[in-house]
C-alpha cells in the first residue's frame, strides 16, 4: 500500500487524540468522585 505511513498515521493520530481525551475525562471523574458523597452524584 502506497502512502501507508500517512494513512495509518492518520488513524493512529485520531485514536491517540480521542483516547487521551477519554482517559483524562475518566481520570478526573475518578479523582473528583473520591471527594464527593454519592448522594450528590445525580447519575447514581
Amino acid at each position: 500500500m502506497e502512502d501507508a505511513g500517512f494513512i495509518i498515521g492518520s488513524y493512529v493520530l485520531t485514536f491517540a487524540t480521542v483516547g487521551l481525551m477519554a482517559w483524562r475525562v475518566l481520570r478526573s471523574g475518578r479523582k473528583l468522585a473520591d471527594q464527593i458523597p454519592d448522594e450528590e452524584k445525580y447519575w447514581l
Binding site: F6, L13, M21, D38
Partner: protein, 283 residues
C-alpha cells in the same frame, strides 16, 4: 446552585464517603464497549475491506475518519447552541444545560482538531501540500479557533450563572459558522471537493462499500461523542460542586476567624456588617 453544608463536610471529612467508580454507570459502560467495537469495525472497513478510489487511490481511507469527525463536530456545536438556548430562554436556568453545552463544545473542538490534522495528511497525499488558504480549510480553522475561544470564556472567573450566561450567548452566535463552513466550497472557488453525501441534490455518487465504511465511521464517532459528553457532563457537575464547597469552606473559615477575634478582644468584628462575601464571590 447546589450547596454543601460546610459544617457537615468539615465534621465528616470528604474521604469518608465511599466512591463508586467515578462517572461510570451500566449505561456508559455498554456505550463504551459499543464504541470500541464500532472503532474496530472502522479500522477493518476503513483500512481493509473498502476499495481504493479511482482518483484518490489509497488516500481515500483517510476520509473515513476525516468526514465523520467534522460531521459529529457540527452535531456537537449544534447541541451546544440548543443547550445554550435552553439555558438562556427557560425560566428554570438549569446549570445542567450549561454543562451539556460546555461538554459538547469540548468534544466538538477536539473532533475539529482531528479533522484539520487528518485533513492536512490527506491534502499532502492528494494535493501535494499540507495546507492551503482555501475557503473550506480557512473557515474550518476559524471554526476551531472560535470554539477554543468559547472554551476559554467558560474558564473566566465569576459564578456558575455568570459563566453559563456569557458562554450561552457565544454558543448561540458561534453555531452560525457551521453553514458558512459547509457551503464555503460553493460560495468561493475552492480546492476542496464539494459535498458527496450531504449534497442538496440527494444523489450519492459513491461505491456501496465506501459508503458503508463512511457510515461505520459516523456510527463509531457518534457513539464516542455520546460517551464522552455523558462522562464530561458528570465531571463538570462535580467540579461545580467542588467550587461551591471551596467557597463554603472559605466563608466558614472567615466567620470562625471573626468569632475568634471577637472573643479575644471582647469587641465585635471591626468589619462592617455588610462586608461579607456572597456565593458569587462579590462583596
Amino acid at each position: 446552585m447546589t450547596t454543601i453544608d460546610p459544617a457537615r463536610s468539615t465534621r465528616e471529612g470528604v474521604h469518608e464517603q465511599p466512591a463508586r467508580g467515578g462517572t461510570g454507570t451500566r449505561g456508559t459502560r455498554i456505550l463504551g464497549i459499543a464504541t470500541i467495537v464500532a472503532m474496530g469495525w472502522l479500522v477493518a472497513f476503513g483500512l481493509g475491506f473498502s476499495p481504493a478510489d479511482r482518483d484518490q487511490q489509497e488516500s481515500v481511507r483517510i476520509l473515513y475518519v476525516h468526514v465523520p469527525t467534522i460531521w459529529i463536530a457540527y452535531l456537537a456545536f449544534t447541541v451546544t447552541a440548543i443547550a445554550s438556548g435552553l439555558y438562556l430562554f427557560t425560566k428554570k436556568k438549569s446549570l445542567g444545560w450549561d454543562r451539556l453545552a460546555g461538554a459538547s463544545a469540548e468534544v466538538g473542538t477536539v473532533f475539529v482538531a482531528v479533522t484539520l490534522v487528518v485533513g492536512a495528511l490527506w491534502g499532502r497525499l492528494t494535493w501535494g501540500v499540507f495546507w492551503q488558504w482555501d475557503a473550506r480549510l480557512t473557515t474550518t480553522a476559524l471554526l476551531f479557533v472560535t470554539y477554543v475561544g468559547y472554551l476559554a470564556v467558560r474558564r473566566l472567573g465569576g459564578s456558575h450563572e455568570q459563566r453559563a450566561r456569557r458562554s450561552a450567548v457565544i454558543g448561540l452566535i458561534a453555531v452560525l459558522e457551521i453553514p458558512l463552513v459547509h457551503w464555503s466550497v460553493r460560495l468561493w472557488r475552492s480546492l476542496h471537493q464539494e459535498a458527496t453525501v450531504l449534497d442538496t441534490d440527494g444523489d450519492i455518487d459513491m461505491d456501496g462499500l465506501m459508503l458503508f465504511s463512511l457510515f461505520v465511521g459516523v456510527v463509531a464517532f457518534s457513539l464516542l461523542y455520546a460517551w464522552l459528553v455523558l462522562h464530561r457532563t458528570r465531571v463538570m457537575a462535580m467540579e461545580d460542586l467542588m467550587d461551591d464547597r471551596g467557597l463554603d469552606l472559605a466563608l466558614e473559615a472567615r466567620r470562625s476567624e471573626g468569632r475568634r477575634s471577637e472573643r479575644r478582644t471582647g469587641t465585635p468584628d471591626p468589619r462592617p456588617a455588610g462586608d461579607t462575601i456572597d456565593k458569587d464571590g462579590a462583596r
